[in-house]
Amino acid sequence: EACAAGIEAAINPSDHLITAYRAHGYTYTRGVSVKEILAELTGRKGGVVKGKGGSMHMYAPHFYGGNGIVGAQVPLGAGIALACQYQANNQICVTLYGDGAANQGQLFESFNMAALWKLPCIFICENNKYGMGTSVERASASTDYYRRGDFIPGLRVDGMDVLCVREAAQFAADHCRAGKGPIIMELQTYRYHGHSMSDPGVSYRTREEIQEVRTKSDPISMLKERMLGNNMASVEEFKEIDIEIRKEVEEAAQFATSDPEPPLEELCNHIFSNNPPLEDEKKLRAGDRSLKSRQRGAESRNNPEEEEEEREEKMPLAQLADPWQKMPVGGTAGEEAHHDPEDTMGDDDSMPACTVSPPVVLVSAPQGCRLGLQVLVGLI
């Protein structure tokens, strides 16, 4: 949890994020309700993508899934960063992958192009020590994932400490926005459960290991203790938060089990994005949300008459098609960082004194790359 919450706290809603299939937390932090997420998991029409995507394919404004082919999302993320650079909108893209996918070749192709073209992309490796059932030692010749970008600077971050994640992500975001090119973060985290519903998760690791992490490094417990120890909240307040959340999730679960499944008419919808292409371009610019395809059947029809109307018109960059119609294109740099809804303290600019051991941030910087290490020292 610390990864998703910490990252979202450090970026703006107008920034972009893409990850692999372990995406439910990110779907939530990017703005989708618990109700829509659970209903998507149960394949109902009230799901965020009407039950057509499922667990691995949820989408939201400036959140590009949910991708099933691990590693494929990394070039996609670099491409989103290219679009940010192209449009000069001061937005960045956070591109996540796991320790397993860290060995995919297309990552290194993306690192190369991102560094060549100085794309504003934060590549984040969520290292939870296991790719399915294969531990990192058995999968990677080098388990220093923050260093695998070679010529791209990397940070190793305690991914169980939400404040550490937030600070590191803030640093990385600033780095990208300053035009310095891509940066890598390795978040050292853990996965309590098995890989999926069909994996008990104990054939390749010990129960003791899981227990140890749960008791010593759980992100929510750690944050709670820190806040209690520094008198930032009381036990009662936490109880109230728990009750509220429990209620929300209960209602969402109710909805997810009672909402009807998508109608069969939806089967062949959403193959193609338009009827006459230019007609829909006009609608997109006019902010028509009903552009979501009402297509019946698999074929799209082209309408040459409508195209003639657009004869001399140029498409200015400022009116980029935003299929979501929620996010302003070109968010300002001064936007407030998105506050984690669980943070009941409001402003917390000052780093509280820690009662748990300080987070460790290791840096890998290629020669000649000045990162402003003073900033990093301040974190520790």
Partner: protein, 360 residues
């Protein structure tokens, strides 16, 4: 990938051509001869000018002017931002192009040949084609993947495969295969303006071939609709259906057969997916005989699909004989010239098939 060898082999295949480049001060154009290469170049130039979101990326597209010179002059005109040279990283840059399309741009992703697209095919299918469906319409992917497809000359097995059937198999993609300059120009414009992933299969041997282009087809907003076939030559005795280079072969065969009193109707598919079945069906209902011609391998190919669709529809009852498929030989492409020539459909193969189908 090995560009130098191919460039060497490519030389001298086509005669010197009279090519008219479009300038600013032209008087209303009459019909003129334009090569397929120039038609593609002009189409991209005009679309780049029309919409700032359009950009081109691929290997050698910028400073080299394009591996086959299709993007000649574009980098000089539009610069580094819009015409991007990539390293040899098909999977990487195809993914980057798809990501850019998701985030609001309209990329043209060039594969030096579609053989190299196999490296990136996951991005084309799983990231581009399926996303609109998986997101229930929330995330369109307006991208064009283009490049030469199918056999060239003397480039051997790994550089000569036809991918029409592979891509046309997948829902969520549009697959087009132009033949002449008018097709190339109109379909590329349609593809770029389309909000969906389009696989645009060109043919290297056609790049240098000039075709007459009508006045209407030179307009900046001339588009050819995706999904509609064209009857290049009307006829009454038999229907020949083809795409890309072999449309020309069919027309040549039709000319020879006309002297023997056999009147062929030649259909240029233009689009492989969605297939214009109505056009083929109404033609078959008129002529009662059908021969399909393609450069790809026979199994599970374009001709196979046409046969299945005809069999499933009303035109089946009008067939007087089974459909014949003329295809590439079911082998990896050999290198030696004589072997290569005999592994692809020739005009005489089409003539032979027509006569066999008509039982003459």
């Amino acid at each position: 990938m090995a560009t130098s060898l191919r460039c060497f082999l490519r030389s001298g295949k086509q005669a010197v051509l009279v090519v008219a480049r479009r300038g600013i001060h032209r008087s209303p154009p009459a019909a003129l001869q334009v090569t397929v290469r120039d038609a593609l170049n002009q189409a991209m130039d005009e679309e780049l000018e029309r919409d700032e979101r359009v950009f081109l990326l691929g290997e050698e597209v910028a400073q080299y002017d394009g591996a086959y010179k299709v993007s000649r002059g574009l980098w000089k005109k539009y610069g580094d931002k819009r015409i991007i040279d990539t390293p040899i990283s098909e999977m990487g840059f195809a993914g980057i192009a798809v990501g850019a399309a998701m985030a609001g741009l309209r990329p043209i992703c060039e594969f030096m040949t579609f053989n190299f697209s196999m490296q990136a095919i996951d991005q084309v299918i799983n990231s581009a084609a399926k996303t609109y469906y998986m997101s229930a319409g929330l995330q369109p992917v307006p991208i064009v993947f283009r490049g030469p497809n199918g056999a060239s000359a003397g480039v051997a097995a790994q550089h000569s495969q036809c991918f029409a059937a592979w891509y046309a198999h997948c829902p969520g993609l549009k697959v087009v295969s132009p033949w002449n300059s008018e097709d190339a120009r109109g379909l590329l414009k349609s593809a770029i303006r389309d909000d969906n992933p389009v696989v645009f299969l060109e043919n290297e041997l056609l790049y240098g071939v000039p075709f007459e282009m009508s006045e209407e087809s030179q307009s900046k907003d001339f588009t050819v609709p995706i999904g509609k076939a064209k009857i290049e030559r009307p006829g009454t005795h038999i229907t020949l259906v083809s795409h890309s280079r072999y449309v020309g072969h069919c027309l040549d065969a039709a000319a020879v057969l006309a002297k023997e009193g056999i009147d062929c109707e030649v259909i240029n598919l233009r689009t492989i997916r969605p297939l214009d079945v109505e056009c083929i069906e109404s033609s078959v209902m008129k002529t009662n005989h059908l021969v399909t011609v393609e450069g790809g391998w026979p199994q599970f190919g374009v001709g196979a699909e046409i046969c299945a669709r005809i069999m499933e529809g009303s035109a089946f009852n009008y067939l007087d004989s089974p459909v014949t498929r003329v295809t590439g030989v079911d082998i990896p492409m050999p290198y030696a010239k004589i072997l290569e020539e005999h592994s692809l459909p020739q005009v005489k193969d089409i003539i032979f098939s027509v006569k066999k189908t008509l039982n003459v």
